[in-house]
Symmetry: C2
Subunit: 452 residues, 2 copies
């Protein structure tokens, strides 16, 4: 069999899958941060174009992908599905391992799947500028690229620790024409507030979101875009899993286990939701596992509660698994996973035991990534290494049980901008950051004060 299972551009899915239509329990509604009452779509209008707001609350099962978006998708889509023969051999496992490689996009990750439609809908509604946050830089890169294609100005607040760890990520965004600030910055009230309290704050996605949202809220010409967490973002990513199903059908296979790294949920949702549909519709029992960092364990050690999406408390309250919106994860190299909460849909699915979660320490992840690079060739992004760690765990499990399982995972991006992290690992400088229960409890106590 061929290593790579390809689709033609004509075979690219024409719709995104909206899991809201099939969920046994829909997510609870978002609440207004002041009144604590459910908010309607109109509350989001200052931040997002109307078409995205409609998608955010839609319960239609299939949403058509606009022709213009499909056209741009073909710059890199459909992406290849690989059978990881070399990795299987190195692990001496009876498991069959497949990976979907999203690193072929210009931005080097799965993020353009939603950046492009978000820029498109903003353009349709006459928006001139979009502000956003970025962690590791992958989302910021994707949005810069998408905005450039549609002639929209792009301003990115990049989490300071990543800004410093990855200067070249910033330059890629500049190359695509965007302006990039280290967050927390002095450009917003939110940033000034954080810097006042913690002058040497490494930043976090939550803080950067506060800054970007404030920027958009204060300017009628500017909208805001989020790279994960929200329903419409997760939905745009489902093209990943939809392609995988077509590709696996060509290979005559179907996964027992689907794995993806977990930050806010879009990576995981993108590959797993179309397989959850098969569970819902056809009674299959495909296990979907979210892989999160041990240093930011909202799914495995957080609680299910209403919490803010950002740190300052500007966003609506969202029903989520969270570590508390003030939780500042240690500066691990997988910057894209340093987020305190999980999106509402994924949280509800976990609460209903329809998906699983597993956490991994940093060193185990880089060990997994190194093995992958040395067998399959691609140097994975640190975020992707979390998924690979889970895959290796499951492949070894299959070996113990002597069972031939089929495992699929989302190789969400390459690590070309993360070589400092690999150097730290190779030189033995990487540490496993421990999060104490007291720390989590302290952070969660602050949510209790919200009295939702």
């Amino acid at each position: 069999m061929e290593r790579k299972i390809l689709l033609t551009e004509k075979e690219m899915p024409e719709h995104w899958y909206n899991i809201m239509a099939d969920m046994p329990n829909k997510p609870l509604p978002p609440l207004h941060p002041g009144t604590k009452q459910p908010i309607g779509p109109e509350a989001l209008a200052p931040l997002f174009p109307m078409e995205l707001i409609k998608q955010e609350v839609s319960t239609e099962k299939w949403i058509a992908i606009p022709e213009e978006v499909r056209d741009i998708y073909t710059l890199w889509r459909p992406t290849p599905l690989y059978r990881a023969y070399n990795l299987e051999k190195a692990l001496d496992t009876p498991a069959k391992i497949y990976y979907k490689y999203e690193g072929v996009s210009p931005a080097g990750s799965h993020k353009p799947n939603t950046a492009v439609p978000q820029a498109y809908y903003n353009k349709q509604e006459g928006v001139k500028k979009i502000s956003t946050e970025t962690g590791a830089g992958q989302w910021g890169t994707a949005l810069s690229f998408a905005c450039q294609l549609f002639g929209i100005e792009c301003e990115v607040f990049m989490v300071k620790v990543s800004y410093n760890q990855k200067p070249y990520r910033r330059i890629v965004m500049n190359t695509y024409g965007a302006t990039v600030h280290a967050s927390p910055s002095n450009l917003t009230q939110a940033g000034k507030h954080i810097l006042g309290e913690t002058p040497d704050s490494p930043g976090s996605l939550g803080i950067a979101i506060s800054e970007a949202v404030e920027r958009a809220a204060g300017d009628p010409q500017t909208k805001y875009a989020l790279g994960s967490v929200l329903n419409h973002v997760l939905m745009h990513q489902t093209i990943i899993g939809l392609e995988c199903i077509k590709q696996l059908e060509k290979a005559g296979d179907m996964p027992d286990i689907v794995v993806a790294p977990f930050g806010g949920g879009s990576n995981f949702a993108g590959i797993s939701f179309p397989f959850l549909r098969l569970n819902f519709e056809q009674g299959k029992s495909i296990r979907c596992i979210a892989s999160e960092p041990a240093s930011c364990p909202k799914l495995t050690r957080g609680v299910f509660r209403y919490d803010f999406g950002d740190t300052i408390g500007m966003t609506p309250l969202i029903p989520m698994y969270t570590l508390g919106h003030n939780f500042v994860p240690s500066p691990i190299h997988a910057g894209g996973l340093r987020y305190h909460g999980a999106g509402a849909i994924v949280s509800q699915l976990l609460k209903d035991n329809l998906i699983e979660a597993r956490s991994h320490y940093q060193k185990e992840c880089f060990e997994a990534g190194l093995l992958f690079a040395r067998t399959e060739g691609i140097v994975p992004a640190p975020e992707a290494n979390h998924g690979i760690a889970t895959v290796i765990h499951e492949a070894k499990q299959a070996q113990k049980e002597g069972k031939s399982k089929t495992i699929l995972f989302n190789l969400c991006g390459h690590g070309n901008f993360d070589m400092a992290a690999y150097e730290a690992y190779l030189s033995g400088k990487l540490v496993d950051e421990e999060v104490t229960t007291a720390e989590i409890e302290r952070s969660l106590a602050e949510i209790d004060n919200l009295q939702v």
Copy 2:
């Protein structure tokens, strides 16, 4: 029509094309550096495995690609051929522009096309270690990756200016398990000699070759590998052009012009030689243009003479277009093009007016690269930008003439490890280095002393 023209793994070519079979005038033989007499294959035996030496002197038209090499090729091959619709639109040109994207390889360039067979033939003959040089780092990365797959130790001498400009390139090589030294180093006589004369030498490919060759010559367990220039290296790259022909046939098209960046010749040979075959066999008149940096203009301002492949004078004398083996090009960002000479085959073809050459200044190249990134999405390697500059020149020419030409170019790699160069360009710090005629004459005078 689809943007990407893909081939299945089954459609991947099974042979490399050896242009030696079709050249009207074969290259002159290499000479022994001491006796100045033609050398036989046995003279190369200390440096290369016998199978590669056979390929070096073969006049067979087609050489079969070993099954194991083909298997590894499928980790990234066949590579996609793109129609550059967005670039065409931005240029408002009647020309049709296609690009072959070799940056999808794990190493991010076309270099693994020869690194993998070179490692394979070394492995077949029991070699334990391979030494090599690298400029921008793309060749070193490719060989590190290939050696890792075959369990061969790999030692890389990296041109010092690139070593310092691109620390992350070194770490990629480490990630693939290789050892990397900045060249000139204190580890070899050649390096010590250069450092003695020029302690702050930025290095050059010629110097790094001297170091790597010395390393292999001094150890019977170690062989040497070169990433360009030599006949067998150029031949391994022809899989690029052979795939292009199949892909363009699918698109119902055929190029009028084929363009590639030029360092030592493998990039250019890879895409153009299979089209030159069509000129030879079918009387077509496809123009093949080599794009070189204005700061290292061996094809456009050098002379055709016998010269050394390295700086110290350890290699055989090769008939080549050269600037003199002591020529140290200015430290431009396209490190892969900083080489004083051209391979023997390409030199003979240029001498016989069967190919063309054009030089570009650095700023023009980055301007071209930025336009490409902002339209097609991929951020190209600085080397690739030289080809894009030529393509844009030809596309504008087509516009002036009102002719619809078809232009194909080799997008030989991505620029993910070259963002410092883009930052220099974006911040206006990039300079166009001028090479004076006196400088070239001074360097060439030293070859006259060779009295070949």
